[in-house]
């Protein structure tokens, strides 16, 4: 019988894997799926902001288009049709991800209202009758607080990240700014007006509001975000991440059951407004407890997210209560007292031929005013008295994008021809002026007033702008290139931690715990492959677009040298000598080259095979010794130790293994090299989790530091287990920290420390679920900084 030897026939294995995946995919999916319909439905359902002008909505029919675009299913169009013939005027939007509570599971209602004209009101004796008003179109039930099971709290040490693992379209959520009442989507100011938080495909960006300079990138925190009054960022991406921009630390809370969140109260993000298919809900964000519920009557199944609003303090709620032949009403629910404290009635008369279709309602941040947007008019009311402060006719239908904290200024977007117009409305003076007019292709996707109302932040597809509201003048612009990659590299240089952002974000040099960058190096192209001299005075950056290595003075940020024709081998491409005068790198032809920067002298290693980009399992690491005479590199599992231009020793990783060790399927390989500060040894990490100490004179192995498996959750028997072993040496050269990342879940993120002098294992711990890829000691030697595979950084106290 024919047998197959899979261990020796790697080509056969590759072919089998390829065939298995192809067969699996083609058998599981034989014909094109209906992605086209799904995409188009989603575009219709959520008004994502394309880089072109959206359809102009200049009449009430235009607003029907807007409503249709807000509709998650074609079936809802029928609801709109029904509305047109007079069935109902409240529109409800079933949103993707909606959770429908089971009415049977709800506690007995305290009081129930039914729709007019045949109300079936039942009120509890405890309810203050004088403060309650019947609700016209929806059966409303106030339910006592019904805490859901507590969600376990979890904390992480997740901090600053730079990886761009997922590509979340920024504009997808930004058009709905009015829905939450105080929940500013897309872009938000800090309470002191000093910082801006915005989203990009790279994640959340924290910017200096004056300079529009990027301070931090939080890529694990994709989703909408807002500042709380204490200046912390709250980002909701399924779990709630609370980021302290000062320390950079992140606290993670498990979110409540997923609901279609359309708003969050601002002081402490304690309350969340959610829509389900059958109800409006207010929930406690931390616990998930449902605090307030307004079930909708059968047939009232449409509720646009802009048609419901939660005040910024989370204490008031309102929604559009619409019907034919009567004005729009806004029932103001007092969520503390659980009553309708007032019903505001629109001044616009009803029309016989069409519903009085209001489209948006929103509280001002101070909760004192409420804005009601109609297709061609805007009304502003004082909540406490119900008095109408202002009523303005609009030149065209628009979207209410912003409202100042005091409710005196409002920002409206309309389209005139192909141009987007931002209209600034002074509610008290009753006037409107054009703040900005831009081509539709540069339409804004989110806007936010500063806390003092004097500045306006505008997020466009590829830029962020600041406007002086009083002068109607744009004061600054920052172009963003969010589609470019981000990368991170940590190293030790004058005890700083370097964090690299590619593309337009450039390079930011952070000290641990400091929110502001110590150094800023603006990028001219995508940056990769950092190398820093040991004294931190020289920095080599690889410009991918130009194929250039640039050597900079880190103190002055001036470019000292430019070397062209460099190949692209991210992160491991280059090394600088301690004095920053010699550079090792791989040329465009894949040759290893050593260059003296001051003289321009070049030495090409001619006795090695050129490095090919697709060469399997190639590893290239280059390190320069302190005295500049020794250097080393590793590839294909062999360490080459050099003195000057002469090889001292070739040391295969196989030769470093313990005598008598059982042979393994996976080849031995080298994962990192480093010279000790005393100049006496070369440290070599292998893929078995060990770090070997080699003599510089002849390459002989002096010692091996191997983690004690009993102190770690390592599998007892796993001959094929390999690690991406990374290590760091403390500034005093006494302590070696080793990070182990293995293929098995249990070995991810393990950290072991050794005394380098005698090889004693000092401590072992498991750090995180995500693999650790790089490790450095921070400034004072008491902190370690680890880079995770997902791009996050973890600060570790020793």
């Amino acid at each position: 019988m024919k047998t197959m030897n899979f261990n020796s026939e790697s080509d056969a294995l590759d072919q089998l894997i390829q065939q298995a995946l192809t067969d699996q995919a083609e058998n599981a999916i034989r014909a094109p799926q209906d992605v086209l319909a799904a995409v188009m439905a989603r575009i219709a359902a959520a008004p994502v902001t394309p880089a072109v002008a959206p359809p102009r909505a200049s009449s009430w029919t235009g607003h029907l288009l807007v409503l249709w675009r807000n509709t998650a299913s074609i079936g809802t169009i029928a609801t709109i049709g029904a509305m047109l013939i007079g069935a109902f005027a409240i529109l409800l939007l079933p949103q993707p991800g909606t959770v429908t509570p089971s009415p049977a599971a709800l506690p007995a209602p305290a009081r129930v209202f039914t729709p007019q004209p045949a109300p079936r009101s039942v009120e509890s004796a405890a309810a203050p009758r004088t403060t309650t008003q019947p609700v016209a179109t929806a059966a409303v039930m106030i339910v006592p607080s019904t805490p859901l099971p507590e969600v376990p709290q979890a904390k992480t040490t997740l901090t600053q990240t730079t990886d761009a693992a997922a590509n979340v379209p920024f504009g997808a959520t930004s058009m709905q700014a009015g829905g939450g009442g105080g929940f500013q989507r897309g872009i938000a100011w800090s309470p002191d007006g000093g910082r801006l938080l915005t989203s990009s495909p790279e994640g959340q960006l924290l910017l200096d509001a004056d300079k529009l300079a990027v301070l931090r990138v939080y890529t694990a925190a994709q989703g909408s975000g807002q500042f709380s009054r204490d200046g912390r960022l709250h980002i909701d991406n399924g779990v709630e991440l609370i980021i302290d921009p000062i320390s950079g630390r992140v606290e993670q809370r498990n979110a409540a059951a997923p609901v279609n969140s359309v708003g969050i109260s601002r002081p402490d993000a304690a309350r969340m407004l959610a829509l389900t298919a059958t109800a409006i809900e207010v929930r406690n964000r931390a616990s998930g407890a449902r605090e307030f519920l307004i079930p909708l009557a059968a047939g009232h199944t449409v509720f646009a997210r802009d048609a419901v609003a939660l005040s910024a303090d989370g204490r008031q709620l309102t929604y559009l209560d619409q019907a034919l032949n009567r004005p729009v009403r806004l029932p103001i629910w007092d969520l503390e007292r659980r009553v309708i404290s007032r019903t505001i009635v629109s001044n616009l008369p009803p029309r016989a031929d069409q519903p009085s279709l209001a489209v948006q309602v929103r509280f001002s941040d101070d909760g004192r005013r409420i804005a009601l947007l109609h297709p061609t008019a805007l009304e502003v009311f004082e909540v406490s008295s119900g008095r109408r402060v202002s009523q303005l006719a609009l030149p065209a239908a628009g979207d209410l994008l912003g409202i100042s904290t005091d409710g005196r200024r409002l920002l409206l977007r309309t389209f005139v021809g192909e141009n987007e117009q931002l209209l600034l409305i002074d509610a008290d003076a009753g006037n409107t002026r054009v703040l900005a007019e831009t081509p539709g292709s540069h339409a804004s996707s989110a806007l936010a007033f500063s806390p003092d109302g004097r500045r306006l932040a505008v997020r466009r597809a590829a830029s962020i702008e600041l406007w002086d509201v009083a002068a109607a003048r744009r004061t600054s612009t920052r172009e963003m290139q969010p589609d470019e990659a981000a990368s991170v590299l940590l190293t030790r240089a004058d005890a700083s931690v370097l964090t690299g952002y590619t593309g337009a974000l450039g390079l930011r040099v952070f000290a641990p715990g400091e929110p502001l960058p110590e150094r800023v190096i603006e990028a001219q192209g995508a940056l990769q492959g950092f190398a820093v001299s040991h004294d931190g005075t020289r920095l080599a950056l690889f410009d991918v677009d130009r194929g250039e290595l640039r050597v900079l003075d880190t103190a002055t940020l001036t470019v000292l040298h430019v070397i062209s024709g460099v190949t692209s081998l991210p992160n491991d491409i280059s090394a600088l000598s301690p004095d920053g005068d010699q550079l090792l790198f791989a040329t465009g032809a894949g040759m290893i080259q050593r260059q003296t920067l001051s003289s321009g002298a070049r030495v090409m290693l001619s006795n090695t095979t050129p490095i090919a980009g697709g060469e399997p399992f190639l590893a290239l690491f280059t390190v320069l010794h302190n005295d500049g005479a020794h250097w080393a590199f590793a590839r294909a599992g062999v360490v080459t130790l050099m003195r000057g231009n002469r090889p001292v020793a070739n040391i295969p990783a196989d030769a470093l293994q313990a005598p008598g060790a059982a042979p393994r399927n996976a080849p031995n390989d080298v994962t990192q090299l480093m010279f000790t500060p005393d100049g006496g040894s070369l440290l070599v990490a292998d893929n078995r989790g060990a770090v070997h100490v080699l003599d510089l004179v002849n390459g002989a192995r002096r010692a091996t530091l191997r983690p004690d498996a009993s102190a770690l959750p390592l599998p007892a028997t796993s001959p094929d287990l390999i690690f991406n072993t990374r290590f760091a040496l403390s500034p005093d050269g006494q302590t070696l920290a080793v990070a182990l990342t293995g293929a098995a879940d249990a070995t991810r993120g393990s950290l072991v420390t050794f005394a380098l002098a005698d090889g004693r294992q000092l401590a072992a711990r498991t750090l995180a679920q995500d693999p650790l890829t790089q490790l450095v000691f921070a400034r004072n030697g008491t902190q370690l900084v680890a880079a995770r595979q997902d791009g996050g950084l973890v600060w570790i106290e020793r």
Binding site: A172, D572, D669
Partner: protein
């Protein structure tokens, strides 16, 4: 005369979409949806999620088309978005995925001998099951390498990790698959001999 090749259609569709014409998006979806869904399926492991991932990817194409450089291949850009979205889904789920055994049952080729069918079927079955148990990062790389035929450099750029990490992860994945295959093959040989 208008160039009707797929490449030309794609170029026109991109230009259309950049002007805001959704017909361009529709053309791009028609051209790329099958491979997109299949790729997503191989990463995430179930069809419904794969369709969702592909949908999200095309929505990102819609919103980000202004930033797409037409001089670069569209498919690579799309796949980069797609794979990143699939990775996001996997990270959210944080659990291993069930294997859809129904699809595996349709893999046998009647033209081949029963023995060869059995061995080949078991091999593919085993590989697919083993792929599903790989850590998300390794599984993604396996799909990129063996289904989309990416180079290591392309994989590194797509997943935004160093080439060295890509090599190491792919190496680990192959070891896992090799071991699973060897074990399954030994068992199958025993059964066939019996």
């Amino acid at each position: 005369m208008q160039d009707t090749s797929e490449e030309a259609q794609e170029r026109r569709a991109i230009a259309q979409l950049k002007r805001g014409d959704l017909d361009g998006l529709a053309t791009l979806i028609r051209q790329h949806q099958l491979k997109a869904v299949r790729t997503a399926y191989l990463v995430v492991g179930d069809l419904q999620t794969a369709q969702d991932v592909a949908t999200e990817a095309f929505l990102s194409v819609h919103t980000s088309i202004a930033r797409f450089d037409p001089k670069r291949p569209f498919a690579a850009w799309l796949h980069r978005i797609l794979v990143n979205k699939a990775i996001s889904v996997l990270r959210q789920r944080k659990r291993e995925l069930p294997v859809e055994t129904e699809a595996l049952e349709a893999m046998s080729d009647p033209a081949r001998s029963p023995e060869a069918q059995a061995v080949a079927g078991i091999a593919r079955d085993t590989i697919w099951r083993a792929v599903q148990t790989l850590p998300e990062a390794e599984r993604t790389l396996v799909v990129l390498r063996y289904y989309l035929d990416y180079s290591e450099q392309d994989m590194a750029e797509t997943t935004r990790q160093p080439v060295g990490t890509v090599k190491w992860r792919l190496h680990a994945a192959r070891n896992t698959l090799r071991a699973a295959l060897a074990e399954a093959h030994a068992n199958a040989t025993l059964q066939l001999d019996e």
